[in-house]
Each structure stands twice: as structure tokens, then as C-alpha cells.
Amino acid sequence: MRFICMKRILVEYRAPFLTCQHHLLSRPRHILPGFKLSLGFTITYLSLLVLFPLSMLVWKATSGGWEHMLATLTQARVIASLKLSFGTAFAAALVNAVFGLLTAWALERYSFPGRRLLDAMVDLPFALPTAVAGIALVTLYAPNGWIGAWLAQHDIKAAYAPLGITIALTFVGFPFVVRTLQPVIADLSMDVEEAAACLGANRWQTLTRVVFPALLPSTLAGMTLAFGRAVGEYGSVVFISGNLPFKTEIAPLLITMRLEEYDYSGAATIGVVMLAASFTILVLSNLLAQWSRKRTGR
């Protein structure tokens, strides 16, 4: 009894702070210890292991001057590899947007046998080492593999071709779309859909005009993340891609080739382009998340 009263007092006491003045939430911060210690450790660890090494990359790339950078980036082989990496990653993100949306919808809205198993399986690309995924995919899609043989009958070349790269990148990017969408679908309020139904919309109209616009920002955010993960992917791609210069050589692979030739500034220059892409993706996905909150009112 006393406990309940205490709790009520606590809630009533803190409620105005919670609603009116948001910054007052931080009021009790002096009670909790460890701010300086945890922040200091976080920043030191982050700087030493991530920020300083990454700044090294930029320094190395620019040390040869802009002309040298431009000369590296305009090499036909570099352009071809960047085009391939960004192109296949984009194609994979598109495929993932479609199937990710359907899967997230099925997982959140329907109950069917094996739903929890399917839900757990979504994270497989996170947990499965990329090299293992790589050799499994190439075994499946090689001309003598289970799927590859069937595709070969229809004159489709999957392994050692851009299609194979796209398949591998679809594999690694899939969980990002599903996991971005799931909480948003779960939080969608039913009343809007009910209102649409009451006002005479059929289910298809409700889905396309009410539900989908609310899910669009998160779908795009998930796509952005899937794209970001896929652009830099290495392990699962190198086995299935065939690695032919100008044809199936992805940018991360070209970086490793340049490193093996001790062309450090060349490797760093390609690396900086990919790093810039990573930063853009990070910013873009944050903006999309904001847009999503605005649209769904959360």
C-alpha cells in the first residue's frame, strides 16, 4: 500500500516536468554517478580506434594533392568498380524494399505457423559470417549448383556476373529493411485504417493511400541502410562475383588489390569516396527517421 502511494506521488511529482519542460528531465543527473568517466572513456576509445584511424585515411588520400586524387578516380577501372558497387547495391536495396515491406507486414500483422521462426531468421545475415554466406551462395548459384543449374537452362548467368553480386548484397541488406519497418508497422494506429474503412474505402485503397504513405519514410530509411551496408560489403561478394576487372570487380576488392600493390594513396582515395558515401547514408537515414516520426506522429 505504502509502495503504491509512493509511486503515485512520484508520478504526480514528475509528471509536469515530463510534459512541460523537457530539459528538466535531466534534473536528477547529479544523482547518478559516472558521467565524466563513461563519457571520457567512450570518447577516448572512439577517437583512438575509429576517428583517428579514419582521419588517417583522408590524410593519406589527400596527401598526393587533388590532381592525384582526380587522376586515380578517373581511371577506367576505378570508375567501373564504383559504378558496379553502387549500382548493384542500389538494385539490391530496391529488391529488399519490396520483399522487406511484405515480410515486415506479414510478421507484424498476421499470425501463421512458423511466424516466430521466420522472425528469428531475419537476423541471419547479421550473425552468419560473410565468408560462409559467400561460399554457400556461390555453391547455390554456380552453373552446377541447385539454383544455378536451373538458371543456366534459361540462359541466365548468376554467379560470376552482376546478378550474383546483387543476390549476395540482397542477402546482407535484407534485415535492415525489415527491422526498420517492424516497429513502425506495430505502432501504426488502427483508427486511421478504421476511419478509412468507415468512409467507404476498400482495403486496397486504404493500404495504398493511408498505410503506405505512413510507411514510406521508414521504407526509404531501411533501403538507405541496406544500401549502405551493401556498398561496402566484401566477404559475401568476392566468392560469387568472379572478380574480373572492369566487369565484376567491386570497389572494396579493388581497394585490397591496390593495397597489395602498395599503392596506398590510390587505395585511400577509393576508400575516401566510400567513406563519404557512408557518412551521407548516416545523415540521410537520420533525416528519414525524423520524417517518419513526423508522418506517423510519434
Partner: protein, 286 residues
Amino acid sequence: MAAIIDIHPPRTVRPRKATAESFFSRWLIISTAVGFMGLMFVLPLVVIFQEAFRKGWEGFIEAFDDRATMHAIWLTLKVAAITVPLNTLFGLAAAWCVSRFQFRGKRFLTSLIELPLWVSPVIAGMVYVLLFGAQGLFGPTLKEHGIKIIFALPGIVLSTIFVTFTFVARILAPQMEAQGQAEEEAAMTLGANGFQMFWRVTLPKIKWGLLYGIILCNARSMGEFGAVSVVSGHIRNKTNTVPLHIEVLYNEYQFVPAFAVASMLALLALVTLILKTLTTTRRGAA
């Protein structure tokens, strides 16, 4: 930022009739999802185990009766044993300061913590080559003192830390934020010191999330390929980790051993997923 690794406790929303799809479209959507995941996820897993047992149990066991394989496993265990505790410590510190305090630049810091997830693993390896490699910034100094970082254990550990940096923090921070800090405040007001509060209050609150974070970090550090491949130099019996060893075996057309070793990592991944499902239910209940 949507939580990608963190899934919400399963909920069964039963839409009312007016807001439900027809039986046919329901069936179509479910079978598309199941079909896509079966093709993309289940089939590769099946192939790994099928290839690993192509020559039966004996072939499978024989694959591990190899000095290079055992060395690779040993090296991978060592790398994980150094990486996981360090990143766990970092994850705890980062989650604590991000979820319990308001300060300027917090969002920027959160973004930076997430950055390694979006950086190509090849770049994660390359930056350390640029720092410590023969032509790197510290290369000459290191050579003078006879310290080897690239093409040796320290380089492998550093690049693995880079790629598995985010996981513990990313799982813990949203959970800790959602759980709130009332219990910790109560502990402090009642006279606990910082260590007692952490050990008796915070740790029990976050244990399932922490466990999953550690498991995922472990799975990723044991399976990292791109970053390690750049810094390791692929020296057999010296700097070959398990994923690199799989590549070597595969390129030598030793398919059964390659898939046998790969199946161990696949098993680790499956265990990770199972533990994730279990801890999610617990985390949801907590």
C-alpha cells in the same frame, strides 16, 4: 534511428474485419515472405551442411584433423577473447552516458558510435595498414623497435574491434533508455556507491540485453572476414583466422573441409539467433 538489431517483443495484432486483407491476399503475402526467405536464407544454410557432410561423418571429422585448421580456430578464439571484453566495456560506458545523461552533442556522439557499422570492412582493415603498415605513419618507428602489428595478432584484433565496435552499445542504449533510471536514482539516494548501484541494480536490469550484445559481438568477431583479410597477410599457421582459412580451403578446391569449418561458424550463427529470440522474450518481460 530505428533499432535494427533490437526487435520488439512479438505482438499479435488481430486486425478487425474491416481493416484486414482478404484471405487470398493474406495468403499471397505470407507465402511471398516465406518463399523469399526460404530461397535467400534457408537454402544457403542447407547447402552449407549438405556440402559439409558430403563424405559423411568421417569426412567431416577428418576436416578438423589438420594443423592449419586447428591453428586458425585457436587464433580466432584468441582474437574474440581480446575483442569481446573490450567492446563490452565500451558498450556499457557508451550506453550509460548516452541513456542516463543529457549533454550537448549527444546525437552526434550516437551517430559516431554507429559509424563503424556503415564503413566497409575493407576500409576498417585499411586504416590500420595506413597507420602501422611498412609505409604507414608509425611503420618506421615500429620496425625500429621490432614490433609487428600488421600481419600479426595486434592488427587482427584492432580491425576486429573496429567492425564489432557498435553492437553492445547499440543494443543496450535503447533498452536502458526505455527502462528508465528510477531504480538507479533510488539506489543512490539510499546511499549506495556507484559500484554497488551498477552491480546490484543496473546489471540485473540489463543482463539479457547485455548477454545478447556480447553474443552478437562474439559471433561477429569470430566471423569477420573483410577487415581481417586486409591486415592479416594470410600466413598459414600464423595469421589465418577461421574465415580466412575457409577462403584458403575453398580456393584450393578442398570443398568438404571448407564447408565443414564453415558449418561450425553457421552453427554459431544459429545459436546466436536462438539466444537472441530467448533473450528478447526475457527483455520484453523485464
